[in-house]
């Protein structure tokens, strides 16, 4: 017989604003802060661990203020040092016509949960336009990484006569135009993505059941505005914080500031700040390539009800036939919907592998098929060790992992052993899991591209390639057997979304970790002083999609490699050598004599520390781990590489030579 699940303390149903997916705090924030180690980096790492619990708004403020004070007293060299410990400095400007300063410390306290050292600048009680024009010079000189346009219905003052469709349309169009203008000014001043907010419904407004269809009613105006705003944002590549979705999740009346609006012009209730801040940080994390990408699932009493080893396939609660079975089927459908968004599904279970796989193959109600799972680790070993093994096998860092398990003891074990893995707390009743899990928003994405839908397939194909390599043995012969084609092109409109995504997501194979937005990438495509490469790789196992981007900036007869990023899916395929060969050929055509490379270390890109050395560059400088390299274009010797290279200019050159 299996052990009954251990009910977690405080198993009573928690509201969404209590961040129920996070463990409850133990002890008092005050006491933890008083007991911090004195070395600032040690203190920050204690605070980072502390921030993984569900603190309330008042505690988050204490936490945030402590971080702010810690950072204030540090010398300027502190940021790179913190970055090497995985803590990334991020600056955000919040524009609000209501009060916003009360959010600052709670945002900072939440940001460290995501390993960000947040610096918040607040512009409040003022329309954003005059503030932006007054501060444009400072903004340009010291641009924030993000601008949040924290508009609310009090700033936009949407109103139009009831029942007048044309007037309603006009009011909405004017409000959208206004937000667009603010986004444009903020975006132009900072060159960075702007985060826009939808409007929460106003529970104080007069509204009847017919109002969603009644032009001019508050509900109609809010709804139409929101729909228009998010579409426009997708088109303009702005980011969206869907405040309306958050307010709907907790209830408009709960969301509303009530007393605090009248007393202090707070835009929403203080009890919602923790949830709001967590959501804002998810967007920032997604844009900076720090979203989660892998969901590791337990089997017994998680993916299905019951213990397959004891109950047998027929004894499992799954699908039609029992209420509990339907709950587990719903969980499987949820996992499948994540896979369609590009999330990689894996299984980690203490079980007999043959029996567990038999359930995958032969249970008629299984929604997830063996083929949907990128990696299985089914054995009796420690789950933390198994999750580490999965991370190694699919080449993704543990901080992109989420582990879903019904057993509180396993959750605690994995959380303790692998703090980088997100392990959601779950209510004791499986029928309450999904709302909690979904509200955690682990897999937030800043955009959606075709690659996302294909990603699971990419990882599957990699498993086939690994088998091929094992069969052939010799690495070079294996590479030839793949019959690879590398397609190289400059940045263009068609590739824009994927290039931007690659820039936001690449952390390991990334020489300088510079992040560029779609509009910045579009600007490079038409800048004569910038030479760009996007590359796709295909082979006998399929198309890997766009896997690399390089940006060179010309100065005199030199190219400086501003950025060089590559998907880790194609490591060890000699793609970087082929790209360098292409760079050298293009450099020669343009009279470029030197290619200068730079490596800026972060906590994640140790993989490419020797990238330029491996390509034959000579090191010319080294400062605080940052290294500079030079390649003499004239001295480069062409290599015979195991792939066909296809580039538009290469084709033209061949055509010219042939004529």
């Amino acid at each position: 017989m299996s052990e009954p699940p251990v009910p977690s303390p405080g198993a009573a149903r928690l509201s969404v604003q209590a961040l129920p997916w996070l463990p409850r705090p133990s002890g008092k924030m005050r006491d933890s802060i008083a007991a911090l180690p004195s070395a600032p980096l040690d203190a920050l790492s204690v605070l980072q661990a502390l921030a993984q619990a569900a603190w309330n708004e008042a505690d988050l403020r204490l936490l945030g203020r402590k971080i702010r004070n810690l950072l204030k007293s540090q010398p300027s060299g502190f940021a790179p040092e913190a970055r090497q410990h995985g803590l990334l400095p991020v600056r955000i400007l919040v524009l609000s016509s209501s009060t916003a300063s009360h959010l600052a410390d709670a945002l900072i306290g939440t940001a460290i949960r995501f390993k960000f050292l947040l610096d918040v600048e607040i512009a409040e009680y003022e329309e954003p336009e005059p503030w932006l024009s007054r501060n444009s010079r400072e903004l340009k000189a010291q641009p924030p990484d993000f601008v949040l346009v924290a508009s609310d219905h009090r700033m936009l003052k949407l109103s139009s006569p009831l029942g007048d469709e044309a007037a309603a349309e006009q009011a909405i169009a004017a409000a959208i135009a206004r937000i667009e203008r603010v986004a444009e000014i903020a975006g132009a001043a900072t060159g960075r993505p702007v985060i826009l907010q939808t409007l929460a419904g106003d529970p104080e407004a007069t509204q009847f059941n017919i109002d969603l269809g009644l032009p001019g009613s508050p509900r109609f105006l809010t709804n139409e505005f929101n729909r228009r705003l998010v579409r426009q944002a997708r088109q303009d590549s702005q980011l969206v914080l869907d405040v309306n979705a958050l307010a709907s999740l907790v209830g408009q009346a709960e969301w509303s500031a009530g007393r605090y609006w009248y007393a202090a012009k707070h835009p929403f209730a203080g009890a919602m700040i923790a949830l709001y801040a967590d959501n804002l940080m998810r967007i920032v994390a997604a844009q900076l390539g720090r979203s989660r990408r892998v969901l590791v699932l337990d089997l017994d009493n998680t993916l299905w009800g019951g213990i397959v080893g004891d109950d047998g396939i027929e004894g499992l609660a799954l699908g039609n036939g029992s209420a509990l079975g339907e709950v587990h089927a719903a969980l499987q459908r949820m996992a499948l919907s994540l896979k369609q968004r590009g999330i990689i599904l894996c299984v980690c279970s203490k079980n007999d592998e043959a029996i567990a796989l038999d359930a995958f193959r032969n249970h008629p109600e299984m929604i997830l098929k063996e083929d949907d799972i990128a990696a299985f680790r089914i054995n009796w070993d420690d789950k933390a060790a198994n999750i580490q093994a999965i991370a190694d096998s699919i080449d993704l860092g543990l901080d992109s992992f989420v582990f879903l398990d019904d057993n509180p003891a396993e959750r605690k074990r994995v959380r303790d052993a692998l703090p980088a893995v997100a392990v959601p707390e779950l209510p004791a009743d499986p029928s309450e899991w999904l709302p909690v899990f979904q509200a955690a928003g682990y897999f937030e994405q800043p955009g959606f591209s075709k690659e996302d839908q294909l990603r699971a397939g990419f990882y599957k194909a990699n498993a086939l390639r690994a088998a091929q390599l094992q069969r052939i043995g010799n690495h070079e012969d294996y590479l030839r057997s793949l019959a690879m084609t590398l397609s190289i092109a400059p940045f263009d409109g068609a590739g824009l979304k994927r290039i931007a995504q690659l820039f936001s997501k690449s952390n390991q194979f990334n020489l300088t970790t510079r992040r560029y937005s779609e509009s910045e990438i579009a600007a490079m495509a038409s800048n004569a002083d910038v030479f760009t490469i996007q590359a796709r790789l295909a082979d006998i196992f399929g198309d890997n999609g766009m896997i690399s981007a390089v940006i060179c900036r010309q100065s005199g007869t030199s190219w400086e490699v501003d950025s060089w990023i590559m998907s880790c899916r194609v490591l060890g395929r000699r793609v970087e050598e082929a790209l360098l060969q292409h760079l050298v050929r293009e450099a020669r055509l343009r009279g470029i004599t030197d290619i200068i490379g730079r490596y800026i270390p972060t906590a994640k890109n140790g993989l490419v520390r020797n990238h330029f050395a491996g390509l034959g560059f000579v090191q010319t400088d080294s400062q605080n781990g940052e290294t500079t390299w030079r390649l003499d274009v004239g001295g480069y010797v062409e290599k015979d590489l195991p792939m066909k290279v296809d580039s538009p200019r290469g084709r033209n050159a061949a055509a010219v030579a042939g004529s």
Binding site: A58, H102, A264, G270
Partner: protein
Amino acid sequence: MAHASEQTSSSDAILARVQDVFRAELDDEDLVIAPETSQQNLKAWDSLAHIRLVSGIENEFDIQLTLAEIEQTSSVRQFVELIRERAR
């Protein structure tokens, strides 16, 4: 919970917790308050700090002040009285 109400109904115990809130919200770990402490004689207790103090006290004691109480409370004595009333 008899124990909890005993604790919250003692004015000294309430005052100690209110002092913790004041220290945290006003960022002054050495601050000592008394029932007489008020917006008139504590400089850091300005209108912005007042809202933080109200929110901190609401969180600490799990109570809710009305808008009128938020507006009218201006001394530690008044806070303590409100908390005692709510604890009953």
